[in-house]
């Protein structure tokens, strides 16, 4: 079994409590992404699973066995680092077999495992090359190969694509996704890039300040963010947020800006009068009306052409909202536009703690 179970995990680094009381269940075969800004604890969490950090409390079970205190090489895991950390003076074959040779495995076994991993990763022609002679994608595969030959059941990735240029990053991302489909192994992946998270993950764990903000599928965290942090972190351009209040009649008001929210997920909360923050994604703001949406007036502040779509920034009263327009319409600066908001896709948040206003428990950030 290659599932991972973290219970009440606490990690202290350099005197600071970086992770506190964390619970997380990682299922067999899933691609779990730990997503968050720098310093949120995601790398620390990964290093703790690997055994490269000391854990100050709680347990880490891999395949049902508590691994706290167990040497990293005995945990059945493999890890791919940001710099790939390939041994520079050794060939690809030696890189992959070094750990096995040190462990004293019989030569035939080693050869068999290396051949199998090389075949799976298309490295057969590269076995005699040194890392300096490989491309970025090839190095990534060798780093994975090193974990494969150890017959690891869980693969850990520490921001492997962060140092690459955009084009290479996209290419290697696709390779990784294909690899996961082929191997079917459990993979835990750390990144600060929400695009990587959305494209690669079967589930995403959004973290901030050492705490889990939300766990869910990419669709979940994108469409139903548990709090303002998650809402703002995923999606580019970021979700538009407007502070105001819900009046008792099922409408959100912020000055002249009015949106009926009776039909949203917020359900019963929409009926009580309270201060609230409205969040709506740029793709859910439509310039020129859509039947059933609220009609609002504004002027064009700025247009950013993006090739296959445009981002139009609309000034509406005191608000500056971004809208995504899929066609090639021209917009003049200060042109008056009317626009609508798809209220069923809008989300409401409590201004006090940033949590989503919702009746549905599974959309809050409680851990499974």
């Amino acid at each position: 079994m290659s599932n991972v179970h973290l219970r009440q995990l606490s990690v202290t680094l350099g005197g600071k409590r970086v992770i506190e009381g964390l619970d997380l269940a990682i299922h067999d075969g899933e691609f779990l992404v730990l997503l968050g800004p720098s310093g949120c604890g995601k790398s620390t969490l990964l290093h703790s699973i690997a055994g490269l950090n000391d854990v100050s409390g709680g347990s880490i079970e891999i395949g049902g066995v508590d691994m706290v205190g167990v040497d990293p090489s005995q945990r059945g895991i493999g890890m791919v680092f940001q710099s790939y950390a390939l041994y520079p003076t050794m060939t690809v074959a030696k890189n992959m077999s070094f750990g096995l040779r040190v462990a004293g495995l019989p030569k035939a076994d080693i050869a068999r495992r290396v051949a199998r991993a090389a075949a799976m990763l298309h490295l057969e022609d590269l076995l005699d090359r040194k890392p300096a002679q490989l491309s970025g994608g090839q190095r990534q595969r060798v780093a994975i190969g090193r974990a494969l030959v150890r017959e690891a059941s869980v693969f850990l990735f520490d921001e492997p694509l962060s140092n690459l240029d955009a084009k290479l990053r996209a290419e290697l991302r696709r390779e990784l996704k294909l690899l996961h489909q082929t191997l079917g192994s459990t993979m835990v992946y750390v990144t600060h890039d929400q695009v990587e998270a959305l494209t690669l993950a079967t589930r995403i764990v959004v973290m901030d300040g050492g705490k889990v903000q939300q766990i869910g599928t990419p669709g979940d965290v994108y469409d139903n963010p548990a709090n303002l942090f998650v809402a703002g972190f995923l999606g580019a351009p970021a979700m538009n947020v407007v502070g105001g209040e819900i009046d008792g009649r099922g409408c959100f008001r912020a000055g002249a800006f009015t949106v009926p929210v009776a039909g949203t997920v917020a359900g019963a909360a929409a009926a009580t009068s309270q201060p609230a923050i409205l969040g709506v994604r740029p793709e859910h703001i439509h310039i020129d009306d859509l039947p059933g949406s609220a009609r609002l007036q504004g002027t064009v502040a700025l247009v950013e052409p993006m090739g296959n779509h445009q981002i139009v920034w609309i000034r509406c009263g005191e608000q500056l909202l971004s809208a995504i327009v899929q066609d090639a319409r021209g917009f003049a600066a200060n042109e008056a536009v009317s626009f609508g908001i798809d209220a069923t896709r809008a989300r409401l948040f409590d201004p006090q703690d940033g949590k989503a206003l919702s009746l549905h428990a599974h959309q809050l950030h409680a851990v499974r």
Partner: protein
Amino acid sequence: MARPRRPARLTPFAALLPMALTAIVAYIGCALWTLRVSFTSSRTFASSQYVGLAQYERLFDNERWVLSLHNLALYGVLFIAACLVIGCLLAIFIDQNVTGEGVLRTIFLYPYAMSFVATGLVWQWMLTPGQGFPFDWIVDQDMVIYTVVIATVWQAAGLVMAMVLAGLRGVDPDLWKAARLDGIPAWRVYVSIVLPLLAPTLATVTLLLSTTVVKLFDAVVAMTQGGPGTASEVPAKFIMDHLFLRSNIGLASAGAMVMLAPVLAMLVPYAYARSRRVNR
């Protein structure tokens, strides 16, 4: 992006005139001069009487000279090996996140701040028979060269340590983590991964140590004066003695040229290897 046109003005050339003079006149010119003298029969004064390779023949018939070469070879091997081993060990141990690293580095490197003369004199005193140590190598013809090794290794090992430590600090820390995951024990990481990575640094260090070996003079003069007798004679001292004391300039020049040969033999492949690496 246009680069500024380099003016045909002479200023940069003029500014480099001292360097040109030094390189051409002082280095190349003097070396050639000495070469020429080595082919003459000069004794106290320069003579222009060419004698071909006679001085070289006389040189290698000279017992003191041959002994000095043997001494230097033995000294060189021991000195370089000891400096490398001790320096690397010190660097590796200090690299293990020890507290008081600054103090330790200061302690191991301070001997390098002393002159060879001071080093030689202190060790001469310390190794004086009947004083602190139970052996009397410094007055033993067969063993005296080892005392010079000890004194100069004490002086130079810290330098090796400092250079190797700088190299160790440049190793990607992720390599260490990957090795931990692979289950590689620390000593094996050093032997199979880190030291091969450090090969260029070690090559530089070895080159520096080798040139120090060839120049060995001050420490011998201070510590043993080449004695007892001529047991710790080294080529540099032989040459200096024959230049100034025994007034045999021709012979001394031949000796100097012989000293030059191994240095060139080391420099050429080293420079070639470096230029290949840079141009790749």
